[in-house]
Amino acid sequence: MKLTNLLTSAAIALGLATSAFADGHEKTKVGFVYVGPVGDGGWTYEHNKGRLAVEEEFGDAVETVFVESVAEGPDSERVMTQMALDGADLIFTTSFGYMDPTINVAKKFPNVKFEHATGYKRADNVSTYSARFYEGRAIQGHIAGKMTKSNIIGYIGSYPIPEVIRGINSAFIHARKANPDVQFKIVWAYTWFDPAKEADAAKVLIEQGADVVLQHTDSTAPQAAAQEAGNVVTFGQASDMSQYAPFPRVSSIIDDWAPYYIRRTKAVMDGTWESTDTWEGIGAGMVGIGEISDAVPADVKEEALALKASLADGSYHAFTGPLNKQDGTPFLAEGETADDGTLAGMNFYVEGIEGDIPQ
């Protein structure tokens, strides 16, 4: 192959790829890039459910494609480019690590719309979206604080990034409110999905006396470990994980991307799509709370549901002062609530959590 030929053909085909779009093909093509396997039972599983919901909603008017287990970095950039070349009109990139690749590819395909989950870089054809999972963590924390007998709550962290730290803080604040003697033990798994590592982390926490294990990783392995231990409470993460209900899984945080995916696909079809930054919680339905099982005492369940209602209608914010940072410096004054900017970049523990955030 001659280099010059290659380059001219590249230029021509790129032109084709963008103009294929202007003449309007019948079906709207929506691509999804997944970081894990669709069968992970957690994060990717829920994104894929959102994809299926888009197919169901629009039937023959849409075509969806996906690639699973795509490594962050150059591989994801290639997969996105490939989808764009294949005529995708809208591409959802569903992991934080796809941020720079999404921006790079979006630059090359100005007519293709991109939606990047949990990131902060936007462009004219790149939107970002995420869910206020910390609202769900507040409810989890409350139930956990009430359910623990050893007063030790284990927490499997994925990576020490603001998203995860926010969840730990929110769960801790509400666990302490429910039970002032509660301690958190945090293990960092450095993975989003690795059943073996997650199971190890859960076992370590259980051995250290934790009788409630919260997880910010996506597999059901911690649930299985808790079931084996027999007397340990867990919560479903990202997905309902109801196969472990009613015990050890007593409730769950469910990511419900379907309404958002349907809305954004519709916007592309109608030609009303604009670059936005979406961060929705329980109220908008993006964060769901899985059924609280009968293993939870009725009064605790009632309190949890009341907390959920107040978070949903906005009468209560999960980060409401007075709150101090871990080092004792003031974070929020009495009645003050945290603003989105602070929450988005949260890189400190609140007062009472032991240990350091890994640096």
Binding site: L6, A10, V65, E68, V70, E72, D75, F96, Y120, Y159
Partner: protein, 360 residues
């Protein structure tokens, strides 16, 4: 009755034919697998092997082939030197990470300085990082007789922890809102390992891989050291008699494979990847082991094998997206390739005999 009979001499023809037969067998059995999944096997095979090379968008995939193949070839060349001599560096993944960290570290330390000398410095640092990481198992083996397989493999996990620590701490982008990951070197001109000719995928890492192939070929065929490597692997006792210093050979082979893996990491982090992130490594160091064997530990073979592996990755992703094949099916497909290679390898040393065994 069918039985295996040892060949008096390893079959040279079979040694060359095995990789091709393995590819054919993989296509056949992979096709059956795809058919069992309800996909048209011919379309699937065509999507994986043909479309990236000659399909509608091959102008995009061909450069990608270089980008994906270069680190595989670079690492596999280094590994093959040791493998030939029976020195097993399984930890190229770790050396790849350390090369990237050293290289990117130098670049990020000099940010936002611009200068022609920055990129060469990063190359040196990357090579050094990989080399140092490989010298740990090398020195331990030479001094204390430890097993280099275990030590080099375990050091991969240590390197991964370093990587996580660096992405969260020292090398974290100060303008990244607290998120892990370094500055993007693609936006730092002096440190960016860009395509030498825009849009060709031909970055310095590809050039380095080509040079490594030539260098290894010359070393193995023309140089005394290459002879030492080969004779040590084939007849260790004979090697001793011919004056080969085994300790020096261990240091050279492990050091060289670490150096090349480090270079691969450095070219990757400063080019296609752009950033040090927690998940920077995607398994090139391990896949390169497959590439080395698929290429019969021969430099030219490795070059072809690296491109073939890259092709299955790229084609595999296209098949996922266009045909809805699950990622696991693609991985099984890639696994088959190595399986058939090793299985068919038997026929290099043995041949099939039909009929009753005669009493000697």
């Amino acid at each position: 009755m069918i039985r295996l009979e040892k060949r008096p001499q390893p079959s040279r023809a079979f040694s060359l034919a095995t990789p091709l037969l393995a590819v054919v067998a993989t296509m056949v059995f992979g096709g059956l697998l795809f058919a069992a999944l309800g996909k048209d096997p011919l379309v699937a095979i065509k999507t994986i092997f043909w479309d990236p090379l000659f399909g509608e968008f091959s102008f995009f995939y061909r450069p990608q082939l270089l980008i994906k193949g270069a680190p595989l070839v670079l690492i596999a060349i280094g590994l093959s030197l040791g493998f030939k001599a029976g020195i097993w560096n399984i930890g190229a993944e770790g050396q790849y990470i350390m090369g990237a960290l050293f290289g990117a570290g130098v670049g990020l330390a000099l940010y936002p300085l611009e200068g022609f000398y920055i990129f060469p410095l990063m190359v040196l640092a990357g090579a050094l990082g990989g080399w140092i990481w490989a010298m740990i198992p090398a020195l331990l083996k030479v001094k204390f007789g430890t097993n280099e397989i275990l030590v080099s493999l375990m050091l991969v996990y240590v390197a991964e922890q370093f990587l996580a620590s660096m992405s969260l701490g020292l090398l974290k982008n100060p303008e990244g809102f607290g998120f892990p990951g370094s500055r993007n070197l693609q936006q730092y001109e002096s440190a960016f390992n860009a395509d030498l000719i825009e849009g060709t995928g031909m970055h310095w890492g590809v050039v380095a891989a080509m040079i490594a192939v030539i260098f290894a070929y010359v070393l193995l065929t023309k140089h005394r050291l290459g002879f030492a490597i080969r004779v040590t692997g084939e007849a260790p006792r004979a090697a001793k008699f011919s004056g080969v210093n085994p300790a020096r050979l261990v240091l050279f082979c492990l050091g060289m494979s670490g150096l090349l893996a480090g270079l691969a990491g450095m070219f990757e982090v400063s080019g296609p990847a752009g950033q040090v992130t927690i998940d920077f490594n995607v398994g090139y160091g391990f896949t390169a082991i497959i590439v080395a064997f698929l290429g019969r530990l021969h430099p030219i073979g490795i070059l072809l094998a690296g491109l073939l592996m890259a092709l299955t990755y790229i084609g595999g992703d296209i098949a996922q997206s266009q045909l809805g094949l699950p990622a696991a099916a693609i991985q099984v497909f890639q696994g088959m390739l190595l399986f058939f290679l090793l299985a068919l390898d038997v026929f290099t040393q043995y041949r099939l005999r039909f009929g009753r065994q005669e009493v000697a």
